[in-house]
Assembly symmetry: C2
């Protein structure tokens, strides 16, 4: 199967032309037609073997799912509706000649396809290449739309706003730890697979935008400590998080309290949303079926105090250092 | 310099907010606002070390230029105006710690920046990562816009239409051959650097769309033989090319007539445009300052004749096999 064979397989699988896609795979460009009066939101994410996934550890289906979830979560954090995805995929030279490689590609597209269908995203194009190394590289672009001027941003938080998160935190890190220990995925229990198959909070983002309830929002891809710092920087404010308020994912229980909290604050890849709302806003306990938990308060920026602090059970306050994963850091 | 340092460098360099970009680097997504009544065109292209460029052969500035030119050329072929680019860039782990790596990154962004400025493209986001190999990987997304329903497509050619190309062909292949022979770039002469610094035909594509003159169009990234076959397939037609009409790039002269023709038909990466127009259309000899040459005619598809044929000087007709570069082919 050459490159054209692969493109043909992708095209036939994703041929249904979705809402907002006037021309998909097969010309020099794809053509999108977002609703009139909408602005266009764009985000891109690498999925590089041995950096974002391991072939022996992650099922191909999970790699396809995770590849798409990162961009969907970014769109969601801004309240946008997904329109189209564009996938660039480089595979090792002999990969498609062997049954194993063909199975991998089939599994990858199965994971991608299921989540694309669930989220109303059309795979509308991309690029393919032979990889220059024995490694799989993917890069995905997600394009969404939102009514003009209504997209949620990181920069709208003001002192006094309350800080909320969706769902529970630390599950992705806890499942990854177990995965690294076992060398394979555990069976799916009630706690699900927050690392292998995280769920993007599509309904929540859209609802927050519709209700005009959030003053700022960001998705938790790097962890609360890092992502809340990003939101505070963009808004020119500080924040105080309450340790006891952090909703811990059931999978973190086996880690013990200290490590569970670390997973929740710094683990990253939970793909929950963090948002702020005015102090008086009536934020419901659930939005689109997902639990909403208040975890702290936005403070006026004070140069003598760390930008983001956390208040422990005994009332002591310490700095919450951004400790999420940073590429290129030494 | 960590990832944030690199992002900061990119952001400061490209901070000017361009036409159509409401929010650039620094949030979960970028926000684009194409003109009212426009549709959105999207194309993505890999630039992988040892596959699309070689670090010892291509100046970093050329890699940055070529990275952007591929998508610009795709937009141009559909008559679209560039709006924004999104760059995903993975660099080897220690790359930014050494002077050499820092110089490479600076050169890469210089090449990208110059062409972005010339073409009115804003770098509005992307992703960065440590490369999992000692190789540089880039993937770029280009987003443009065109009045709704006016984009040029591959599928509009009809029997009797004439086939045209812009500029001259084979120059990119000829310069690459010289580059591989010398191990370094020759000095720029009047013939320019069609391989290292190809010029996207932005003005031509926009003008063809504005005048409604082209029935179909494609950019010559893989070579006439492959790209004309794509256009014919999409249009459900055949084509006859006249060998003597092919405009040969001055750099092909040293190759001899046979190899020069081969470079022009199969070499690829010239990033000229190929388009079709009704037989009676008054197609000028130059559009936006670029020479336009008629090279053949669209024919009715006949299953007993090869889809694309070429007529030699003596009038003999032979099949023009798609011989452009295909990834994954054995």
């Amino acid at each position: 199967m050459g490159e054209l064979g692969l493109i043909e397989q992708i095209r036939s699988r994703f041929s249904a032309r979705g809402r907002g896609v006037a021309l998909g795979i097969g010309d020099d460009c794809a053509i999108l037609r977002p609703p009139a009066g909408h602005e266009v939101l764009v985000t891109t994410d690498f999925s590089l073997e041995n950096r974002h996934f391991r072939r022996e550890l992650h099922p191909a289906k999970s790699v396809g799912h995770r590849c798409l979830v990162r961009g969907l979560s970014d769109l969601t954090a801004m309240g946008a509706t997904p329109v189209a995805a564009f996938l660039s995929l480089a595979l090792p030279g002999d990969f498609l000649k062997a049954r194993k490689g063909q199975r991998w590609v089939a599994g990858f597209f199965e994971g991608l396809h299921l989540l694309a269908e669930q989220s109303g995203t059309t795979l509308a194009g991309g690029d393919t290449s032979e990889s220059p190394a024995d490694l799989i590289f993917a890069d995905i672009v997600l394009i969404g739309s939102a009514p003009r001027g209504r997209s949620l941003r990181r920069s709208g938080a003001r002192a006094g706003d309350e800080i909320y998160v969706t769902g529970a935190l630390g599950g992705a890190h806890a499942e990854l730890s177990a995965l690294l220990g076992l060398g394979r995925a555990a069976r799916a229990g009630a706690a699900g697979h927050p690392h292998l198959y995280p769920e993007p909070r599509l309904g929540v983002g859209a609802e927050l935008m519709r209700r005009g309830m959030a003053t700022a929002a960001i998705d938790l891809s790097d962890g609360v400590s890092t992502d809340l710092a990003h939101l505070c920087e963009a808004s020119g404010v500080g924040a105080e998080v309450e340790e006891g308020a952090i909703p811990l994912h059931p999978l973190t229980k086996r880690l013990g309290r200290k490590k569970a909290l670390d997973a929740a604050l710094n683990g990253g890849e939970d793909y929950e949303l963090l948002f702020t709302a005015r102090a008086g806003a009536r934020v419901p306990g659930r939005i689109a079926g997902v639990a909403i938990t208040r975890i702290g308060t936005i403070r006026k920026r004070n140069a003598r105090v760390p930008r983001v602090v956390i208040r422990g059970a005994a009332g002591e306050v310490r700095e919450l250092m951004p400790a999420g994963w940073q590429h290129f850091s030494s």
